[in-house]
């Protein structure tokens, strides 16, 4: 399980990255992240929506209510151009952290 702080910091890049695969609704997005992380990234599911709405307000993504195959309506989210730009910046920053840590941990990979 990730710490609260790390969850808060990683939600936006995770959402942006999942959306590069195509448009998706909230529940499926959470399932996708759970699946990709083998259950290690576990969100309080309802908390994703305020983040999505904030990203919508910042024009990173756009949303649309549509009928789903179940007959109910679902809100689908889609990446926008600003979102792609933001993702690029996120990638650079996360890679910087990742590469630095990877170098430091190379010599002692098991911190037991």
């Amino acid at each position: 399980m990730l710490s609260k702080e790390l969850v808060a910091a990683s939600t936006v890049p995770l959402v942006l990255s999942v959306l590069t695969e195509g448009e998706i609704y909230g529940y499926a997005l959470i399932q996708r992240v759970r699946e990709l992380s083998n259950g290690r990234i576990e969100w309080t599911e309802g908390m994703l929506y305020p983040v999505l709405h904030w990203m919508e307000k910042e024009d990173l993504i756009e949303a649309e209510w549509r009928d789903a195959e179940t007959g109910r309506k679902r809100k689908y989210y889609r990446l926008r151009k600003e979102g792609r730009k933001a993702l690029q910046q996120e990638q650079e920053q996360w890679m910087a952290v990742h590469q630095t840590l990877a170098k430091l941990w190379k010599h002692k990979p098991h911190l037991t």
Binding site: T44, M47, P50, W54, R74, K75
Partner: protein, 246 residues
Amino acid sequence: METQTAFDLNLAIQTWRENLTNSLAFRRENLNELESHLRDSVATLQTRSLSAEEAFLIATRRIGQSRQLESEFGKLNRGTIWLERAMWMLIGLLVWPFFDRLMSGVAGSLFVLGWRSVRHSPSEVGDAWPVFFSVLIQLSAMVVAACLTWIVLRKAGAFGQWIATKLPRRSSFVLCCFLVSLAVVLLYVAVEILPAVSFRSFVRSNPTQAVAYVGNSSYFIAPLRISGFVILTLFVARKRLVPEKA
């Protein structure tokens, strides 16, 4: 042992949603989305051989506690929340003087009518007692007004929801404006004009100090009225802050 009542998923979801509807933090669209999520989640869990009730319990747990959701959505919808609060403040400012005016109008008329029916001469009665009685009557009128205001504010949630479904339609909005204006005119007639007429006829028939007594009593009533309003405000604030026991 087998008489356990069947679990109604739709009813459970509806109750869950109503619990959130009471908070200002959520807009209708937010609730639609959360409900859609909950239904997806329940459906998925049910395919894993869980009963509807088990699936519902797990799904609501995963979606998060209402208090937590409320605070996060609240940050997002701050503008709407303040508009809503301002609206309730305005309603409060209207409701209290409305009942206060109505009750003090009734009390004033009662006092004057009572005075009229009692035979007396001013020299016997003295000044203090009539003023005291006038204060007493007005005070009880104020208490009734405060109670009525409190009842109206308590029931306002249900009324607010009802009116919220009506107001977006333009015809209902216009009708609403018309009815409110009519009510204000009628109230004005009841509170201002009728007592004024009855006062005048009284003064003509018996030009004693009764009117002055009612006037003098207002020196005592005015501060009480203000503090009554402040106490009512604090009372509402306290109700809001003290957590409700489940």
